[in-house]
Symmetry: C2
């Protein structure tokens, strides 16, 4: 179980996914009840008839949120939603959460109450019970860790690795909005720092601000799948951006992809705000993240069932692995799809 | 779901348990699969035949551990153990964990590898699978959050609220050692700060240092219960000190307690080291914490089955709630048992 002699490697050299891959290389699964370990939106545990899915996310002040413009109630709501989104991405029903919070003494009780109210609101909306947790001191910022537990019948669980050649790649809702909402908030924070008397200019930006501050997890899509009798062949939630998530599905399914830029659903407000910031709207959708939409593949025979559903957009088709990862630009040129993440946008 | 007008209350006024009680007052349990929510060592979820138990713990650098004397491998090991201990305290078998880690760039990969090796060692020893997690950046210290999932048959799960008048209160192993180990480490750190050329004086303190740095979760006790066919009526793990845990059992079971000071199991090294530090050994056992022993009650009819088991000590008996919480001191005097926690010792 000894790691190779890599002790002095800087973490930044590996990146998040490289780090996870490295650290988990010696993880052994010995429990017969473990169906799926590291590597999907959630782990899967066998319990007989129903399987349990479980996922966890940590949110750190100064890294994942900025309390200068994120209301605590919204933060509480979002911290639950990002976890429920992972459960839905397994085509499962979230049922319980456990919550750990580390807080410094600079917070009064009222602040924690707001945070909790937001969490309980998300629980209520998604019919999830808060069943436990840990509350502790922090010497610096606020830290929130939530673990969500869900359930699904074995035959209904959708993994990342089930996409097949000829499948269609689809996405719910629209993309890039949460990232553009963040840009607005960061801009207004900078303006406020320069001149605290100026009121923030958020007018007309409601939709993308809500995408950033109060995202929703797509329970409705999971219900829709049941209603129209479609079982996706693979699925993931869009937390890191369309390109990164598409590549997760492709690499785990050992397939290639042709993704069409012109098909990527982008809301007009997102589009126009991107131009306002001199950003390419497509790049915002590909690399922006935090949209919490569902990206999934379906059998071509299910196309008739989804083609008239307003919430779904077919954006590409799955090819043979040897064809690689391609984005066909609006101009018809072909580009290699790369996972750039937020870093690409912050340069 | 609005909280009372308590917004300006300082968190320190409430304390950890008061805070949890306050924040969770509006938690509703609506999922039929939720058997037990906040308030025990772990939550319990129904899955049909087997029930799932789940617990979570957050460890913060500078609050729960000090990397100047805690080796990362030990920290990884301990961070898993403290969670497994909560699962065992439900008389359940831990099966999976999910791990969230926040790290700053001051850590090189080698440091994380050590941490992971410790976690995987604990997993291997307890036959637990690491099935998922989250790895993220921290702007200051190291944060570790682990959620452990276990399983048990419905009829085997032991809650905190099952103690009955006439039951015997028992504890596994011995108490106060982990706290005295911490005192040694803190003393040597202070000496080192004064004079970095002095070698730490840890000689002969192996047992209590191990109690602090590499505690064990009592899987063996759970197995022993099965072997001798004893089902405790209530159980909790000793993480905050004997008095605090005893009071949890009593208040949740709505019973009183007579606890005998002379019966409290204290290892000779713990006892002598306490005297060396001018501390009362009994107070170290009552308030020291982090021993991760199991405190439980049994029916008096099971006394014959446990009386010759070296690992168990009967330390008190459960009385009517009206009798209150009493500790009978060695001198025969009766004192009210209070949950003082570590603060009592640090004054």
């Amino acid at each position: 179980m000894d790691f190779d002699n890599t002790s002095d490697t800087e973490l930044s050299e590996l990146g998040e996914f490289g780090l996870i891959k490295h650290l988990t290389q010696y993880v052994e699964l010995n429990q017969s009840s473990t169906i799926k370990g590291v590597g999907d939106d959630a782990a899967v545990i066998n319990n007989g008839d129903l399987e349990t899915v479980i996922t966890t996310d940590m949110l750190i002040e100064g890294v994942h949120f900025d309390l200068t413009y994120v209301p605590l109630k919204h933060l509480g709501y979002k911290s639950v939603i990002v976890n429920l989104s992972d459960i839905y991405a397994m085509n499962a029903e979230p049922r319980q959460i456990v919550v750990s919070i580390a807080i410094s003494n600079r917070f009064k009780l009222g602040a924690l109450e707001e945070l909790y109210q937001g969490m309980l609101l998300a629980c209520k909306k998604h019919n999830v019970d808060l069943v436990g947790g840990d509350t502790t001191s922090s010497i610096s910022g606020l830290v929130i860790n939530i673990t969500a537990i869900g359930a699904a019948k074995k035959e209904n669980i959708v993994y990342r690795n089930g996409a097949k050649e000829g499948n269609l790649l689809c996405v719910s809702g629209d993309l890039g909005g949460a990232y553009m909402g963040l840009q607005i908030l960061e801009r207004e924070k900078a303006v406020f720092k320069e001149n605290p008397n100026l009121q923030p200019d958020l007018e007309g930006k409601d939709y993308i601000l809500e995408r950033q501050l109060k995202p929703e997890a797509r329970q409705d899509i999971i219900n829709l799948f049941k209603k129209i009798n479609v079982q996706p062949t693979s699925m993931i939630d869009v937390s890191d951006g369309l390109s990164s998530e598409t590549l997760h599905i492709c690499s785990q399914s050992k397939v290639g992809i042709d993704l069409y830029e012109e098909k990527i659903p982008i809301d007009p407000l997102t589009f126009n705000t991107a131009l306002e910031f001199n950003l390419d709207p497509t790049l915002c959708a590909l690399s922006g993240g935090e949209d919490y939409e569902l990206l999934f593949t379906i059998d071509i025979n299910d196309y008739e069932k989804v083609k008239n559903i307003r919430e779904f957009t077919v954006i590409g088709h799955i090819t043979n692995e040897s064809k690689g990862y391609n984005m066909i630009a609006k101009a018809g040129t072909v580009h290699e799809l790369k996972a750039q993440g937020w870093n690409a946008l912050n340069k």
